[in-house]
Amino acid sequence: MAQFNLSTVCLVLLLSLSLCSLQADAACCTKYSRTEFPVRNIKGFSIQNDLGRCNINAVIFITLRGRKLCADPAKPWVMEIIQKLKSTVQNMNKKHKPVQGQ
């Protein structure tokens, strides 16, 4: 009896584990870029905070080619880029208001 249950459990375990297909974890910034980069190369940004899996606060810029770069949110040039991106979007919203939802 016990033996039967045991082998069933083992089988289920093996099956469930062999089905594993690895899913990529999100990458975290572990340090900041030292060089400033110009806003014209930046497409957008994301915010990383230290409240979850990642351990430092950071701004992640996405370049036109899709490269992600970590930046220090405390640096003035980082805030500048964000302000510029924000104003670009605001201008765009004014221009496209009838077309764009949101």
């Binding site: 594993c20 999100a26 497409k43 230290d50 080619r65 991106l85």
Partner: protein, 421 residues
């Protein structure tokens, strides 16, 4: 909505000055010398490859062997050997803790792969159970060493408490489990499943937007749209829905404190405290054994050494790595350094898991009495099997093949017997 336009020529006037755009190419990598200047998020690809091998093969093997060994211990105690001495109660509890651990671990791995489909409560429960068993397992090993210390070094005093041994050991076990639960409360409270918001993918056929992002459209006529919401995807490629089960805090201060406190407690109470207790108890036992004139003392010394050495070998690397990682948690570091550390954690953690399937061998099966009982189980199973086969062959029903063998117990000291090989 958003159309991938990687192929579109970018009107980039100052290309030469910003080589990262040239090098990057969306999918390519930066040359090594540039990592200092431009820091991309650390992807830990090597660790992912390592986990891809370790999790399905090594961890599953450890879980299966651990489950088998520890279930045998539980079954032996449940059907053949009433837990009589203090050591028995502790061994049974260690086995139970290891069984729970071996059940929780594959479920955690499974859920990690499949987006935590079981939800936040499963995340809390499984992670909590994992933590409770980690603490209870380690603390119970310390209890076993104290019990042996009392029996061997303080032998005279131990006679007085032997009569109430069962009560004591039960109280101790309940205390240990309660303490393990209390130490795991932060895990129960702060573990959650959530979408990883830093997850985004700007590949050519896969445009996944993310929280709090603004998009600049300068020179990109094909990207139409304003701010995007989390999980806004094109081409049906939804990498944004990847859920993780991990700590999540509301405030910066709680995050900073808890992220250090929880692993520190694990290293302090889940490793160094039992190590200290075991170190003291087993070294005293060794002194007593070496003074004694017993023909079995060499074997007992070997058992003590094995127990301590295996414990240190399995848990020291992981706890040292975890301590180092936690001490430098909030510091900036290069990606390859981070990757080395995380890989070290993966490897040493596996080593620590291994201990849960060595426990039945080191503590239970090494004892003569336990082995006798276990052999009885095997005999009975063998008998049952033979009877079953013969019953099927001759199609005759046998009723009295179950033989109770409880009366064959020897009369030597429980504690000495758990040392005897």
């Amino acid at each position: 909505m958003y159309r991938p336009s990687e192929s579109t020529e970018v009107p980039n006037r100052k290309r030469k000055e910003y080589p990262f755009e040239e090098m990057a190419n969306g999918t390519g990598d930066l040359p090594d010398y540039m990592y200092d200047d431009f820091a991309p998020p650390c992807e830990l690809l090597k660790n992912q490859k390592l986990e891809k091998i370790v999790r399905p093969y090594v961890h599953s093997a450890i879980c299966v062997v651990g489950l088998l060994g520890n279930l045998l211990v539980v079954v032996t105690y449940a059907f053949y050997k009433k837990a009589k001495s203090m050591t028995d109660v502790y061994l049974l509890n260690v086995a139970l803790s290891d069984v729970l651990f071996a059940v929780a671990l594959p479920l955690i791995i499974y859920n990690d792969q499949y987006n935590w489909a079981m939800g936040t409560w499963a995340c809390k429960a499984l992670r909590g159970i994992y933590s409770v068993n980690l603490y209870s397992g380690m603390l119970l090993l310390a209890c076993i060493s104290t019990d042996r210390y009392v029996a061997i070094v303080q032998a005279r005093r131990s006679f007085r408490i032997r009569s109430r041994a069962l009560v004591y050991s039960r109280v101790v076990c309940i205390t240990v489990w309660a303490l393990a639960f209390c130490l795991s409360i932060p895990t129960f409270v702060y573990y959650e499943t959530y979408n990883d918001t830093t997850e985004f993918n700007f590949g050519p056929h896969n445009y996944t937007a993310f929280n709090n992002s603004y998009v600049d459209h300068d020179g990109y006529p094909s990207y139409e749209g304003g701010t995007m919401d989390e999980g806004d995807t094109v081409d049906g490629d939804t990498t944004a829905s990847h859920k993780v089960c991990y700590f999540r805090f509301d405030g910066n201060e709680t995050a900073q404190v808890m992220k250090v406190l929880v692993p520190s407690m694990q290293v302090a109470v889940g490793f160094f405290l039992p190590l200290l207790v075991m170190g003291f108890c087993y070294s005293s036992i060794l002194m007593t054994l070496l003074r004694a004139r017993n023909f079995q003392r060499h074997k007992a010394v070997r058992v003590v050494m094995a127990v301590v050495l295996v414990f240190v070998a399995c848990h020291l690397p992981y706890n040292v790595t975890l301590l180092y990682y936690t001490a430098n948690l909030f510091q900036m570091r290069d990606c390859h350094k981070e990757e080395e550390l995380v890989m070290a954690l993966t490897v040493t953690e596996t080593l620590a898991y291994l201990h849960s399937c060595l426990n039945p061998v080191l503590y239970a099966f090494i004892g003569v009495k336990f082995r006798n009982h276990f052999c009885k189980i095997l005999e009975d199973l063998w008998c049952m099997g033979k009877k079953y086969i013969s019953a099927r062959r001759s199609s005759r029903v046998t009723t009295d093949f179950y033989v109770s063998r409880k009366s064959t117990e020897g009369s030597f000291n429980e504690n000495a017997s758990s040392f005897t090989m």
